[in-house]
């Protein structure tokens, strides 16, 4: 029995390791390429042959990386702040009230997350252009919000569902209003959920490509995704593209790793139902 258990454990370990290698291959090879000189790209294999860190210096002069970072951070932070707020309200309504049209509302919310961006991007552009929000940060942010609000709402709702109503009743007796209850009792009790929502929306905002591409015009509003993809034009050498790519995803990965304890907790507790 014990031997069998050990065998199963080894099997699991091997499988997980293979999967992790598969997961990391693209990121690792990008890392190797980013430390290689153009001429040596063909020679590099497991480890960069020349540790050419100059790529990381050159890239700043090649493209407007600072500008891309700034725009990306604005999209990511803007999206996540507003998303958390909207989702908190909506999730609270879904969790605590029975109201007419609730089913229909939930259906609509679900639908928003599966509308293909490529379907909706051009009409969104036309609407925003008409109301004067074309080429603004807020225009991109609300477009992102509209198609990504579902998951945070569903996530927070399952968090709120887990908080006993009795607590609120006690507070209500003390004369607390609904919004007061929401912010004084529910929100503090769902910190992991709020944090998870924030982080997820942050990554969503960070990774947007089509919306900023179509909804902005000014070069200062170009985010990393669009800016770096522009380098994949077959003229910019691969190692530069990879350096840019890595620089663009590293902040997101670092934030993820820092927050991952809460993230996994939050996602586990509020698993998508």
């Amino acid at each position: 029995m014990k031997k069998k258990k050990r065998l199963v454990l080894t099997g699991r370990m091997i499988f997980v390791i293979i999967w992790c290698v598969f997961t990391l291959i693209p990121i690792y090879t990008a890392f190797v390429a980013s430390l290689t000189k153009y001429e040596n790209l063909g020679k590099t294999f497991l480890w960069p042959v020349d540790m050419y860190y100059q790529n990381y210096i050159d890239i700043w002069s090649r493209v407007n990386l600072t500008g891309y970072f700034k725009a990306t951070v604005i999209y990511a932070v803007g999206t996540s702040l507003i998303n958390v707020l909207l989702a908190t309200f909506a999730a609270y309504a879904l969790s605590r009230y029975a109201f007419k049209g609730k089913t229909f509302y939930s259906f609509i919310i679900f639908i928003t997350q599966v509308i293909p961006q490529v379907v909706i991007a051009i009409p969104i552009f036309m609407t925003l252009n008409r109301i004067g929000l074309y080429d603004t940060y807020i225009g991109v942010i609300i477009a992102v919000l509209a198609t990504s609000m579902a998951f945070p709402i569903l996530l927070l709702r399952s968090f709120f569902d887990g908080i006993p109503v009795a607590l609120e009743e006690a507070a209500a007796i003390d004369g607390c209003s609904r919004v007061g209850i929401l912010f004084r009792i529910i929100v503090p009790l769902s910190t992991p959920g709020i944090a998870t929502t924030f982080a997820l929306s942050f990554f969503t905002g960070w990774g947007q490509y089509l919306y900023p591409l179509i909804l902005t015009r000014d070069p200062s509003k170009t985010p990393l995704t669009v800016g770096i993809s522009r380098m994949i034009d077959n003229q910019t050498p691969w190692e530069m593209v990879m350096t840019g790519t890595l620089l663009a995803i590293i902040p997101a990965i670092v934030i993820y790793l820092c927050a991952q304890k809460y993230l996994v907790q939050g996602l586990t507790a509020g698993s998508v139902k």
Binding site: G78, D135, Y137, S177, V179, L213, R217, P219, S220
Partner: protein, 434 residues
């Protein structure tokens, strides 16, 4: 109590909104402040925007000095150069056109320019052009910028198909580098000799139709097979019907070439073959002048050479010419200033600098600055003189796409030349009639 908390909720919303708006404001600040300061410093200074599709850092190296000297010469005009990569150019262009935010001077390809011209978005530059400029631009290039009898585009970037080869591999294969193949039969024989007698493949072929490159390849060979224009500029159709056999022969030639090429032709792009030739994995390639940037050292040392593409049945070593150029949109508020800048860019020296980005000479005066007895420049300038304009109309993107797909099938040996031609003709027919 109740009221207060709703207010609280509202204020929270507002606060979040403000954070974003402030962030947005900060963002646009840096962009605008420069222009503001400039306008306060000098009265009636006009800022025009300029966009040249391509790799930003390379383009800035070329254009920043030109812009600087322009601003010195015309102190009341400031030029704001903005970046646009090829990968998202079409998308951005459409969106800018739709929102009336096209830059005052822009470089792009005739397909999109003519489509926008059809919609009344492009300024007809015929009346702006002076005779000096008209005379100076090669006729086939000037013609390529015309649509519906109007000069919508001033050509400033052009490509012909050229024949690049590796002299070392030529010698190894027992071929004479001083007498490169001049006909299709000789060319095939050379490709065969290289792939049989050396480690390298005979010829680099590419099947990725990313921007009409393979269609251009086909059209150039077809031009040399029939010895003239491949496109009926009056009816906006390709001339395959009258030259059916010639088109089939051209396609067969392309298919035969793939026998002596590197593997996975359909996955290879025109850019990939440049490193292949550079690294000696192939002996020859048919590519535009952009190849030179990649193999410059070898060209200097004599390892690589360039020649006219081999001649088809017509006996003429000629290529189609693919052109891009500047245009001014009708939405521009400073058309005069925009033209002043555009005209400045077309000065011989400036155009020469621009051509280093990857273009054959556009101006005769530009060509004269090169030594035509030099085999490299001789070849390149002759290729412009002998070229025919590539066919372009607003539907060209769709036509190229379809041709590209069919050529891929041909190069993957999934269908023969005749079927390919029939599919191309039938597919084009549908697109013409749409």
């Amino acid at each position: 109590m109740k009221k207060i908390s709703w207010r609280k909720m509202l204020s929270c919303l507002l606060a979040a909104g403000m954070v974003t708006v402030m962030a947005a404001a900060c963002g646009s600040d840096s962009g605008d402040s420069g222009a503001d300061q400039a306008s306060s410093a000098e009265e009636e200074t006009v800022t025009i925007t300029f966009m040249r599709t391509g790799t930003p850092e390379v383009l800035h190296e070329i254009f920043d000095p030109i812009i600087e000297s322009f601003e010195e010469e015309y102190p009341n005009i400031k030029v704001d150069m903005q970046d646009l990569g090829w990968s998202d150019a079409e998308t951005t262009l459409q969106v800018m056109a739709s929102s009336q935010t096209l830059p005052d001077v822009m470089y792009h390809l005739p397909v999109s320019i003519f489509d926008m011209a059809d919609k009344g978005l492009i300024e007809d530059l015929t009346s702006y052009m002076d005779d000096e400029l008209k005379e100076d631009i090669y006729p086939s290039l000037l013609e390529a910028g015309q649509y519906d009898g109007k000069q919508y585009m001033i050509p400033c970037g052009a490509l012909t198909l050229l024949y690049w080869y590796n002299t070392e591999l030529f010698e190894q294969a027992g071929l004479d580098p001083d007498n490169p193949p001049a006909t299709w039969d000789e060319f095939l024989a050379a490709a065969k000799a290289i792939s049989e007698n050396t480690d390298a493949a005979g010829i680099a072929m590419y099947g990725m139709p990313s921007g009409g490159e393979t269609s251009f390849f086909f059209e150039s060979l077809f031009a040399s097979e029939i010895g003239g224009e491949t496109w009926d500029g009056e009816r906006y159709t390709y001339e395959y019907d009258e030259n059916r056999q010639a088109a089939i022969d051209t396609l067969e030639f392309i298919q035969e070439l793939t026998q002596y090429s590197q593997g996975a032709v359909e996955e290879t792009s025109r850019f990939d073959i440049r490193t292949m030739l550079r690294d000696g994995t192939v002996g020859m390639a048919l590519d535009a002048v952009n190849m030179a940037n990649q193999i410059q050292d070898g060209l200097d040392s004599g390892q690589f050479r360039v020649a006219q593409i081999p001649a088809g049945a017509s006996g003429k070593q000629m290529s189609a010419v693919n052109v891009g150029g500047f245009f001014i949109p009708t939405n521009s508020e400073h058309k005069e200033e925009a033209w002043t800048f555009l005209r400045y860019l077309m000065n011989t020296d400036n155009q020469k600098a621009h051509s280093t980005y990857g273009s054959i000479p556009i101006l005769k005066s530009e060509a004269e600055t090169y030594d035509t007895s030099d085999p490299y420049w001789g070849t390149i300038i002759k290729s412009v003189e002998d070229s025919v304009p590539e066919g372009v109309c607003p539907k060209t993107n769709s036509l190229w796409n379809l041709t590209g797909e069919q050529l891929q099938l041909l190069m993957m040996n999934n269908q023969d030349a005749e079927t390919t031609l029939d599919n191309i003709i039938a597919g084009h027919e549908e697109i013409y009639n749409e």
